[in-house]
């Protein structure tokens, strides 16, 4: 493998996981905050379901998505199987429960007085949720980071729906699987190092962001 291919694989990994996590964060953070602040009959069951989905085996999700996206499946007409779009959908579905579940925990763990104060302001629901998200932002950022780490290190789902096609759907994790099977362990170790560096870089950016946010609010 040459350096150009390594860069292409790395960028695709970041792109696929990044888009998936951005999408799951936009929906998951709002959904989590709404669930945490709302009172409805099946709330406990809903939270239990989300907690369960947080541990969905990627291979199972990949298989289900494969059946749905394949030509004979209900969404076969989209023609996205074995494309980066399918990989994004897989990682989006995989990370959505993580972001949602951790957003629920972050909002629910805010002090009761604070939640009551915000509720007593009788703001429109979306403002109330926005204020709560702002207060719980540290926990929520941790949730997003956990989701990204899950996405970028995931292999089961993307290999099934992406197909590990060279220069097209091959990402760091699926490349590691491929080169391990080929016995090219030097390449595997380099890919592993790059994967670790990507994860480290994202962590560093988030840490810096949290620090800046803390500083700005001071």
């Amino acid at each position: 493998m040459d350096i150009a291919e390594l860069i292409q694989i790395t960028l695709l990994s970041i792109q696929v996981s990044g888009v998936a996590v951005v999408l799951s964060s936009i929906i998951g953070v709002w959904l989590g905050a709404y669930i945490a602040t709302s009172e409805f009959k099946l709330k406990k069951l809903t939270i239990t379901l989300i907690d369960t989905l947080m541990g969905t085996p990627p291979v199972l999700l990949g298989l289900i998505l494969y059946l749905v996206l394949s030509r004979s499946g209900p969404l076969g007409f989209l023609g996205v199987l074995f494309t980066p779009a399918a990989m994004i959908i897989a990682q989006f579905l995989l990370t959505l429960p993580i972001v949602t579940g951790l957003a629920i925990s972050a909002v629910e763990s805010l002090p009761r007085e604070l939640r009551e104060y915000i509720k007593s302001l009788a703001l429109p629901a979306h403002y109330e949720v926005l204020l709560l998200i702002n207060e719980a932002r540290t926990g929520i950022i941790s949730g997003v980071l956990a989701a990204f780490s899950r996405a970028v290190s995931e292999v089961g789902a993307v290999i099934i729906v992406g197909g590990n096609i060279r220069y097209y759907t091959r990402v760091l994790t699926t490349a590691i699987v491929y080169y391990t099977n080929s016995g090219e362990f030097d390449t595997v170790l380099w890919l592993g190092l790059v994967l670790t560096l990507v994860y480290f870089a994202i962590n560093a950016v988030v840490l810096l962001l949290r620090y800046r946010m803390g500083e700005r609010s001071d």
């Binding site: 002090p111 007085e113 604070l114 009551e116 104060y117 509720k119 007593s120 302001l121 009788a122 703001l123 403002y127 204020l131 702002n134 207060e135 932002r137 609010s217 001071d218």
Partner: protein, 234 residues
């Protein structure tokens, strides 16, 4: 229509424990009703019910002769806009002191100019102007309390529900707050129910005083309030 907040035979359980046992009280416009009682007597729970934050298990709440339906979210939200509830340990938002007053005003629909003007004036009155840019979490307990009171009054509420508003304030600041609250209630002709542990404070601000012990109203005073009578219960 009679202008009164009326709680009638309110009952509240937490688990198996009966926190409020047929509690009834009235608060009138332009007057301050004070609730006193030992720790754990149910004062804060009663205040939260009046603030429509938790529903009673039995009993009725009426505002200006209209019964409140705790299941009607729309009605509750519309009423809550008129209510200013200040909990025992008032929280501050993770923002600077200025934004702690400015943000709720803006989110409630005030224009930028209006919100800015009100915030600056409140900060001046409370002598917190020099802390405007500081994170509110960095204020002392007393300053946070002052900020919370200012933030509450800035919203121009019609019903004040304060839970021990002067508990963490120095005596002279507490007196200033008592004067501000008393003046506000008289000038705006609004309702006020205040929970207090301080007999001197209660005597100073209360037009009506309720002594709540073990979830029951044991004594009601209006007009002349006898310290000895209160002390008998607390």
């Amino acid at each position: 229509m009679k202008e009164v907040i009326r709680a009638l035979n309110i009952v509240k359980y937490f688990g198996e424990t009966r926190i409020l046992d047929n509690v009834s009280l009235e608060a009138h416009r332009g007057k301050i009703a004070v609730i006193m009682g030992p720790n754990g007597s149910g004062k804060s729970t009663l205040l939260k019910i009046l603030a429509l934050l938790i529903p009673p298990d039995a009993g009725r709440l009426e505002i200006d002769d209209s019964p409140i339906d705790f299941n009607n979210e729309l009605e509750k939200r519309s009423l809550q806009k008129k209510i200013a509830y200040l909990p025992q340990r008032p929280p501050v938002l993770s923002a600077n002191v200025f934004n702690n007053i400015y943000l709720p005003l803006r989110l409630r629909g005030a224009s930028k100019e209006e919100a800015k003007k009100t915030t600056e004036s409140i900060l001046s009155i409370l002598r917190l102007k020099e802390y405007a840019k500081i994170n509110a979490h960095r204020l002392s307990g007393g300053q946070k309390q002052l900020l919370a009171i200012g933030r509450t009054l800035a919203l121009n509420p019609q019903i004040l529900l304060f839970d021990e508003p002067t508990a963490s304030l120095a005596p002279n600041t507490a007196e200033t707050v008592q004067d501000i609250v008393k003046r506000y209630v008289r000038e705006k002709n609004c309702y006020a129910v205040i929970v207090s542990h301080n007999i001197t404070e209660a005597k100073k601000i209360a037009d009506e005083l309720y002594v709540l012990v073990s979830g029951k109203i044991k004594e009601t005073f209006s007009g002349q309030i006898s310290e000895a009578e209160i002390l008998k219960w607390i």
